[in-house]
């Protein structure tokens, strides 16, 4: 539930990130005027197809974009300050400490030549002033809270000695080692078995309940969204197209893309009515005129092809960017 | 009329893309060494003692008759360079070809069969790789004496190990590929699989490795000859030109040393550039990790 008396913990306004290549001749608009807010202790999902800009969004917030990518506009307000105006040294105090992130493939997120304990320890050492004698305890504590058995033995082991699921939990432990306020998780369960996925999600749920952590979950797996999150942000081709609480979204999606996405997903609904979305995502360097989605939209009309759709705040909690939102459909 | 689409002729494709400069140098050097007898060159082995130690033609005492000068025995440098190319190329190609045959066979067998055979071959490879090539060459020369044939054999004995290692790991990864597995299941004989499936697929690596090895072989032959254990005098060989010319350095007879060495460098450089190009041409996914 959106709390509009409180101030948002993270407020993103008109964030735009472009990728420049071939000497600036090719510009990929990975993010185009993206705006949303995150409130304390919320569990938000960002969904969309591959390439829609979900990961770029997180890298832009944390300022860890690859070379060739630049934030060209907008604001990212966190704890009253604009993160985009900070230099790398200042951002280093925020990354890992205030805002933590888990990358997609946990199998390769850990440095193969250092022990687990060392990789957790260095984060704690850098961000806090906890003395080395106590860091060992802290590491054990962390590993236990992530349900890793025999933590003392594990801390001395190397990543390749652990199973995939365990590595995933270690990565989570590292991320939460300094008690960040926000955790961004970029498709953290994609490479795991389904049973392990479930375990991990429950673990995150519990930790979130105990600590009041704010979760930003990036995924294209709608089952996880339903299981874990309260609010959903739908992205397409670098833009946000719909924002809504989870239940409302699944019940009555307003944006044609959202509806198509739900229809093509295997996790929800009647399998006999499944249909993949026709067509392919657009080339972000050569976007169509008007609405980005119109080439694949079955509801499109003239306006959709010509003009950028308006942003409509439909109720306290629901927002959509579309010329023909599916408001009266059931 | 039916339009039949022909795939681009690989030979023409190569001709179009090969680095022109080095290729030209190679062609000139190789053909002139093969046809040296037909070129208007002085005798490379017998010199004119009255015309000894003449500098190249652009210097004061030089003449166009001996364009690059003469050595301590009055022999024309240019003709010795051209005839010397013969020896170097024969030795280099000979050694590389023999080494690649032995090495490929060993590598394929080793990778294919695994187990004891693999271990034994690998230990042999380890042993050979621990023996410094030049020193071994000197040992052999003390025993069997110098000579073109001898150093081809000696060099092959040491070079084959480079191939064996690389081909073995290629074979290992090929073994796991589907088409090989299917052949096993279909009951094809091991020899057949090695011949028809493994061998053609490692050929690219062999060719690439061989083209880079030629440069190394030329330098090694020059080193062995320079040290007196390679091609024996009075045959024209670059290594000999360098060892004979060495004494003249302090006296200022620079052309005795600069031209032979420079030719070696030019030849090897050309082979290296072509070899690098060949590597990329044959396998665009090749990664520069040795």
């Amino acid at each position: 539930m959106m709390n509009n008396e409180k101030k948002p913990l993270l407020q993103i306004t008109n964030l735009s990130t472009y990728f420049f290549s071939f000497g600036g001749k090719r510009i990929v608009k990975a993010l185009d005027r993206v705006s949303f807010e995150v409130y304390e202790a919320e569990k938000i999902a960002i969904i969309g197809e591959s390439g829609c800009g979900k990961s770029t969004l997180c890298f832009s917030i944390l300022q860890v974009l690859p070379p060739g990518a630049k934030v060209v506009g907008g604001k990212v307000i966190f704890e009253g300050e604009n993160l985009l105006e900070k230099n790398q040294k200042e951002m280093n105090k925020i990354r890992g400490k205030k805002i933590a992130m888990i990358l997609q493939d946990s199998m390769v997120s850990l440095d193969p030549v250092f022990t687990i304990g060392e990789q957790i320890g260095e984060t704690i050492r850098h961000h806090t002033s906890i003395k080395s004698v106590h860091i060992q305890e802290k590491i054990i504590q962390l590993l236990l809270s992530f349900r890793i058995s025999e933590p003392m033995k594990r801390a001395k082991q190397y990543p390749h000695e652990l199973s995939g699921g365990m590595r995933q939990r270690v990565v989570g432990a590292i991320a939460l080692s300094c008690q960040p306020r926000i955790l961004i998780a970029d498709e953290p369960t994609t490479n795991l078995d389904v049973t392990i996925q479930l375990q991990y999600l429950n673990l995150l749920k519990e930790i979130q309940k105990n600590t009041g952590l704010t979760l930003l979950f990036i995924t294209h797996n709608l089952g996880i969204v339903a299981e874990l999150c309260e609010r959903v942000i739908v992205m397409y081709a670098g833009k946000i197209v719909e924002k809504s609480p989870v239940i409302d979204l699944f019940d009555t999606p307003f944006h044609p893309y959202t509806k198509a996405l739900l229809n093509s997903s295997f996790e929800l609904g009647d399998l006999s009515k499944k249909a993949p979305i026709k067509g392919e995502p657009p080339d972000l360097a050569n976007l169509p005129t008007g609405c980005n989605f119109h080439p694949r939209c079955i509801f499109k009309d003239k306006k959709c092809q010509m003009e950028d759709p308006p942003e409509i705040q439909l109720s306290q909690n629901r927002w959509v960017k579309c010329w023909k939102p599916l408001i009266d459909m059931k | 009329m039916n339009q039949i689409q022909f795939r681009s002729n690989p030979v023409i494709d190569i001709l179009k893309k090969i680095p022109k400069g080095p290729a030209l140098i190679l062609i000139i050097l190789i053909t002139s060494s093969i046809f040296a007898d037909f070129l208007p060159l002085h005798n490379p082995e017998i010199g004119n003692p009255r015309k000894r130690l003449l500098p190249p033609f652009w210097e004061e005492r030089g003449t166009i008759e001996y364009p690059l000068g003469t050595d301590t025995m009055g022999r024309d440098i240019l003709s010795r360079l051209v005839y010397g190319a013969r020896v170097s190329l024969i030795v280099a190609f000979g050694a590389v070809i023999i080494a690649s045959i032995i090495g490929t066979v060993a590598g394929v067998i080793s990778g294919f069969f695994g187990g004891w055979i693999d271990q034994i071959i690998m230990r042999f490879t380890d042993a050979w790789l621990s023996i410094p090539m030049v020193m071994f060459g000197m040992l052999m020369a003390t025993i069997v004496g110098p000579g073109v044939f001898n150093i081809i054999i000696i060099m092959s004995l040491v070079f084959w190990t480079r191939y064996a290692r690389v081909i073995r790991s290629e074979t290992l990864s090929l073994k796991t590929r589907d088409f090989v597995q299917l052949a096993f299941i279909a009951g094809c004989s091991k020899l057949w699989i090695m011949r028809k499936h493994i061998l053609p697929n490692v050929m690219n690596s062999v060719i690439t490795l061989a083209s880079l090895q030629i440069g190394i072989a030329i330098v090694v032959e020059a080193s062995l000859t320079f040290l007196g254990v390679g091609v024996p005098s009075p045959k024209p060989a670059w290594g000999l030109m360098l060892s004979e010319g060495r004494g003249g350095l302090t006296a200022g007879y620079w052309w005795l040393v600069v031209f032979p060495g420079g030719t070696i460098a030019l030849l090897v450089m050309s082979f290296n550039i072509i070899g690098d190009w060949l590597r990329l041409y044959l396998d665009p996914h090749y990664r520069n990790i040795e």
Partner: protein, 305 residues
Amino acid sequence: MKRYIIHRLFLSIIVVWIVSILIFIATRIGPDPAYIIAQPGADESELSSIRQRFGLDKTLALQYFIFISRAIRGDFGESSYYGLPVSKIVWNHLLASLVLIISAKIISLSIGIVAGIISARRKGDWLDNIIKWFSLAGLSMPNFWIAMLLILIFSVKLKMLPTSGYGNFSNLILPAFSLGWYFSAGYTRITYSSLLQVLNSEYIKFVRIKGLPEIIVIGKHGLKNALIPIITLAGMNLVVMISGAVAVETVFAWPGLGLLIYNGAVNRDFNIVQAVVLFISVMMVMINLLIDILYAYIDPRIRYQ
């Protein structure tokens, strides 16, 4: 880790054994060694007394056994040229070669790694080109020719450095550079590709996201991972460098094992030549063992094979 070390040690011993067999066989491949040792024109009785003296009349297997048991005790016979025990002579020349090889290694590693880092940064294309040509030149020019050119330039023309000798830094620099140039090319290439691979890896991304400063990202995580292939190459290069040292030492009259074996070959001092080859080869096997252990120390994935 212990198991790994023991396993490797065992393999090394086998390799040393094979090396000794190879060298021994090599020495018996040619004509009757008696001819080599004897003066030309010796008659049959001289030859047979030589055979007796040097144990050449015994069976091959027995000869090998004698050869090995003596070698293990450090007895390589006597030098026919110097008349002294070979082991002593070899020992005297060892230091000079060590100095040369280590210096050449330092030069080639420094140039190579720095050049590789520069290439990976890709800040200036002209610099990149220079590096490429420098590498190509090093790979293409025989090291003894480089040596002679350097002598021509620095000793004859500029009179800045001595042409030969041993003892000073100024004596060392030309030989070490001549020897090392060739290898800097390989190090450049491996540093470049290794760095690129490491810096683009997911785990480096993750370390950055953890908020650690760039120095730790590159200096701690990047370096350790990137170093692995470099060390492997350094090990493989050692044997080649020793081969190259023979010619370089000869040009500069550097009193190391290379010069020793060269003189040995010239003087047909068989024992010296054989001893140097055997000694160096065995040392190579042992050094490779040490490098393998070092490698496993740095990269824990290797320990579990």
